[in-house]
């Protein structure tokens, strides 16, 4: 039973680790438990436990969903470098990229799930069994797109890792089509989530054709910045070596997408403020407040400052080449875009309401705890996937009966 042996040897790898590994896993477990208890409370009492209202019916759950959707899509950046441009440094981490895609998609699904008023009816979304309103509802599209993306990445990574474990080379005829499906699917999940918002004719703030491009630019900036941080961490904490060329490549991607992102934001600002109409009311509230309501103003300026500073650092070559500056710029990019996606994109879509009512939204502790738990669950999934796949990819873990690995340049991964 080879597949069973594979699962067993992966599981043994996941359950083996030093003090640092177990502290990390323990911390994630505690956060999941702490936030899980908040979710149980929300389940028992209802969504009144959150700061959401009829006026602002979506909050941090959907904001995080939007952000993580972009992180999931960013895995395509590695796939493109590795398999479209054939860069060896990217091939080596492509499966880790798939791990990020899987973990982020799982977290996305969880964020939608915790946002449901009737989670026990989630089966209504299952095609055939329930009544998925596809192709009319953009949310139905999104359900299919995200789950499909998850399946594509799981399939590719399990196939590649399993084949490597058996001491064989993954057949390019099998996984190349998968890779290209994954790349296009990544763009699709970004477009679909942007359309999910921009489809709402009654919400002037979202009803703009720029939403899709802004989503893509911001997500690729945040995604590549987050990958730089993650790979630097993996490089430092594990025996896995990350090629400095990969960090340079991702740094360049962050620099370019960050500039596009800010340029698109500038376009929105011009249209909204040169001659303000009722369509710019949300933008006005976001940046200037409205009659004493300034809840989002500090957030958006913090976000803008972080994004602008990050962009400047990334644009100056000597600074971007310095690992210290690059790390700082990446942290600023991730935080800045996270705020922009959440407080900057979701909430203003609802303020003012289509009837001109202004009601501010502040997340409650329940929402904060549940959100942290979902993030921790995503990190846990990624840690488990990375822990099992790294030794296999670096050739340390093999099926006992496998032939000796053959060094081959065209293999999807290169043993260090």
């Amino acid at each position: 039973m080879r597949p069973a042996r594979f699962v067993f040897s992966c599981a043994r790898e996941v359950l083996r680790g030093g003090r640092l590994y177990w502290s990390w896993m323990g911390a994630l477990g505690l956060v999941i438990l702490w936030g899980g208890l908040a979710y149980v409370d929300q389940l028992g009492t209802g969504l009144e436990r959150t700061g959401m209202s009829d006026q602002v019916p979506w909050g941090v759950y959907i904001a995080n969903f939007g952000f993580l959707d972009g992180i999931a899509a960013s895995a395509a950046l590695l796939m493109i470098a590795a398999y479209v441009f054939g860069r060896q440094y990217a091939r080596k981490v492509a499966m880790l990229g798939s791990g990020i895609a899987v973990a982020a998609s799982v977290a996305c699904g969880l964020f939608v799930f915790v946002d449901l008023g009737r989670p026990e009816r989630a089966w209504h979304l299952v095609p055939m069994l329930g009544s998925l309103n596809w192709p009319v509802s953009m949310l139905a599209w999104d359900v299919l797109a995200l789950n499909g993306y998850l399946v594509v990445h799981l399939t590719i990574s399990i196939y590649v890792i399993y084949t490597l474990w058996r001491g064989k080379r993954p057949s390019s005829r099998v996984f190349y089509p998968g890779i290209f499906v994954a790349i296009f699917w990544a763009i699709a999940i970004q477009c679909i989530i942007a359309f999910l918002f921009s489809a709402n004719v009654g919400r002037g703030y979202w009803h703009t054709a720029l939403l899709g491009p802004r989503f893509l630019a911001a997500s690729f900036a945040a995604g590549s910045a987050l990958m730089i941080l993650a790979f630097r961490w993996i490089d430092r904490l594990t025996s896995f070596e990350v090629d400095p060329q990969l960090i340079r490549y991702l740094g360049l991607i962050t620099a370019v997408t960050m500039q596009i992102n800010l340029f698109l934001l500038g376009n929105e600002l011009f249209v909204s403020f040169y001659h303000p109409t009722s369509h710019s009311a949300a933008m006005h509230y976001l940046f200037l407040g409205h009659e004493g309501l300034h809840g989002l103003v500090p957030w958006i300026y913090t976000s803008l400052a972080l994004q602008a500073a990050s962009c400047v650092i990334l644009m100056i070559h000597p600074l971007r080449s310095s690992i210290g500056f690059l790390t700082v710029a990446c942290v600023m990019a991730v935080v800045g875009i996270w705020i922009d996606k959440g407080m900057g994109l979701i909430t203003p879509g609802f303020v003012p309401t289509p009837l001109g009512e202004y009601l501010e939204y502040t997340p409650t502790w329940t929402e904060v705890r549940v959100s942290l738990a979902v993030w921790a669950a995503g990190l846990l999934v990624f840690t488990i996937l990375a822990k099992a796949s790294i030794p296999i990819e670096s050739g340390k873990l093999r099926d006992p009966g496998a032939p000796a690995p053959e060094p081959e340049a065209s293999a999807p991964t290169v043993t260090a």
């Binding site: 709402n200 009654g202 879509g349």
Partner: protein, 309 residues
């Protein structure tokens, strides 16, 4: 879109029995049997049965009778109210519409309160299907509308505009729903299956009229607040975690009664009727007055018309 609505008219019992439906029915029957078994052990039957309940439009007459009996029993058990739940289908050939005379509306909110009393809307916090906006005379800028005006009305220099569900002919909320839990009936009324809605609130984001409302908490109704004359798709007491909205009082209007809001209006500003009846008042108003709809530019084709009579 209205063609589409007609095509999807829930004519009871004449849907073909596909394999899946038969399977699901068998599934539901089995679940019901399990639930019945558990009931003798003292568990809460309705909740278990509801877990496997099918979409309203897949229910047979028999399923509906059972569901209604269960809901009536639940009402008695939870609120001590002997509710009578009906499920009147759309009347063939009828398309409802509403007309509202802004020059007579005084902003007294009687319609809003009558609506709440009729429709068992949650009381704590209060939910209202009708929102009366106070506008400056001569301005239709909703951004400047006053939602929480108080004191004696009408106030000098103001006009009042009640807003509720527009029962659009091309409703964005229906397109938005990922599980088809809300749809337009043949008489134009957009309804919600409270037992199918998953509570994602995407329809709320889609509605340009702020007409959809979500049950963030239990309805917190006192038995004395509850109107026992209820409709399966309209004013029966809603569970927590689902959407609800104005349904033109379909449990009344499909029986030939007026909606509660029109009955309550002390100045006769509200006119409800059948668009397809050439002798109806609403038809007369549409033919003789300069009517307009809210946010016409969005192409939602409201069935709720405003005019200055």
């Amino acid at each position: 879109m209205s063609d589409d609505g007609k095509r999807r008219l829930p004519v009871i019992g004449d849907e073909p029995q596909t394999g899946r439906r038969t399977f699901m029915n068998a599934f539901a029957t089995a679940a019901g049997a399990v639930a019945a078994g558990v009931a003798t052990a003292g568990c809460d039957t309705p909740e278990i049965a509801d877990l496997f309940r099918q979409h309203y439009r897949r229910l047979t007459d028999e399923d509906k009778r059972e569901l209604i009996a269960r809901l009536e029993a639940l009402s008695l058990q939870e609120h001590g109210v002997r509710a009578h739940i009906s499920d009147p289908p759309p009347v063939p050939g009828v398309e409802f519409a509403y007309a509202l005379d802004l020059s007579t509306c005084t902003g007294c909110r009687q319609c809003e309160y009558a609506c709440a009393a009729e429709n068992n809307t949650p009381r704590d916090p209060e939910m209202h299907y009708i929102r009366v906006l106070e506008l400056e005379r001569g301005s239709f800028d909703l951004e400047e509308a006053e939602h929480d005006y108080e004191g004696t009305v009408p106030r000098e220099g103001k006009m009042y505009m009640p807003v509720s569900c527009m029962q659009c002919a091309d409703p964005p909320c229906v397109s938005a729903c990922p599980v088809d839990a809300t749809w337009q009936e043949a008489d134009g009324i957009v309804v919600i299956d409270y037992d199918w809605c998953i509570g994602c609130r995407y329809c709320q984001a889609a509605c340009p009229y702020q007409a959809r409302h979500f049950n963030f908490s239990e309805p917190n109704l006192r038995p004395s607040d509850i109107n026992p004359d209820q409709g399966l798709l309209s004013n029966r007491v809603r569970p927590r975690g689902v959407m609800e909205k104005c349904h033109f009082c379909l449990h009344r209007t499909r029986r030939g009664l007026l909606p509660a809001c029109q009955e309550a209006c002390p100045v006769g500003a509200r006119k409800f009727g059948n668009l397809n009846d050439p002798t109806s008042e609403v038809r007369f108003i549409l033919e003789t007055q300069q009517v307009y709809v809210l946010k016409e530019e969005l192409g939602t084709l409201p069935r709720f018309f405003y005019y200055f009579g």
